[in-house]
Symmetry: C2
Subunit: 238 residues, 2 copies
């Protein structure tokens, strides 16, 4: 193989479609939830494409901002899905025919789709999901009770759960799923939900405080049913 072959070799996949998909995770009613949108009567992950003049990371932030209005999210690329037959040509063909648009088989959507799978941790109450560019309906689903999803998007959500479970013990990121001010019991229930097991209350609190990344606020949480717990906030370290 010389440089000429290298330039013209027809069986290489130099130019697949690259997309961005984001598993937008929130925490509500003791459940981890994911924001899905409707695409041609199927639920799918919010996603998008990369502009020529922006980086992958910028594109992911833009896609997330367009869907949620959140400007400083926790957002992480965790896997790439790009198997040989990964395409949504069939789904897209149906949609075009329904819209009476012309379909031709050498359209770019007929190619393999390589997607950069991200997950984002957001505070649901801060999300403004009205900003979607495409006029699609959207909804929060419990990650344990997902509807049938487009392509392999169900697998992507499942993979994000595993990744988050792994990341949460190494990095202090879970607070991104809570309001700016939160209580230790709330943080504990969140961790229990992500890890899928009960944690010991006394130890959990001591552990979290030993990291020295949370600061206790002077006031207590007011609308608590029993004894009012302290409020905490993530320490900005800048």
């Amino acid at each position: 193989m010389d440089a000429t072959d290298f330039l013209e070799n027809g069986h290489l996949l130099f130019l697949p479609n690259i997309s961005i998909d984001i598993v937008i995770l929130g925490f509500q009613d003791g459940d981890l939830k994911v924001l899905l949108q409707e695409f041609d009567e199927q639920w799918c992950l919010p996603g998008g494409y990369i502009f020529k003049e922006e980086s992958l990371a910028d594109a992911a932030h833009r896609v997330l901002y367009d869907r949620t209005g959140i400007e400083q999210p926790f957002l992480k690329l965790f896997q790439v899905f790009g198997d040989k037959d990964r395409s949504f040509a069939l789904e897209f063909k149906k949609l075009l025919e329904k819209s009476r648009l012309h379909w031709h088989p050498d359209l770019w959507v007929n190619q393999r789709f390589v997607t950069m799978a991200h997950y984002a941790l957001v505070n649901i109450s801060e999300v403004e999901p009205t900003r979607g560019v495409l006029d699609l309906s959207h909804n929060w689903f419990s990650v344990d009770k997902l509807p049938t999803m487009l392509m392999d998007h169900g697998d992507i959500v499942a993979a994000s759960k595993h990744q988050l479970r792994r990341d949460i013990t190494l990095e202090h990121i879970s607070f991104n799923l809570l309001p700016e001010e939160f209580t230790m019991p709330e943080l504990q229930r969140l961790h229990e939900t992500i890890l899928g097991r009960k944690l010991e209350r006394s130890r959990f609190q001591k552990k979290m405080l030993s990291f020295d990344v949370f600061e206790r606020l002077p006031q207590l949480k007011e609308d608590a049913p029993r004894r009012k717990p302290y409020l905490y906030r993530f320490k900005e370290s800048d």
Copy 2:
């Protein structure tokens, strides 16, 4: 934006070049080494492209096999590098001109290159680096004394070091860098090199054996200078 715009929107980067780069790591003389190859008088990471009929993972394994002859490696996608100006058009143009091949500016190599950065852990003595498809020279370099490298390949090696340091405490993968039979002192020196700090001998041995993934062989290592240490082997769990 409707479906027609969606199909024709020219400022979207649907079709960048996707490449695979592999940081092939080995362990020799108490140093972590990386296998580099020469490209137009610059050192760079072994890499390649994806065939139309293979998955990303298959392509990475093929590229690694072509360079090393290793069939069952530890190989992991750890990051994607794809900034706006990530291209090696300039380098490639020089090479073509040197080879008296024609250069034209809308050639695919002029586009952005998105690379799937992998790292592989190999036993250097098993590597047969003669298998390279392109006729390039190659060499093992200490990861701490790298030459000037093509594009951002130096950054990719640095990122792989961080990722490995993180992964090594969570997964039992370090033995992939050693011969099939190894001693505890060897394994300890390897961990110390990756982590960049001294470890306590007694504790390290107890910790490793507590994982119950290594089996002690009846024989001792024969060519040891002082007391002969036991040999161990990774337990196959299938």
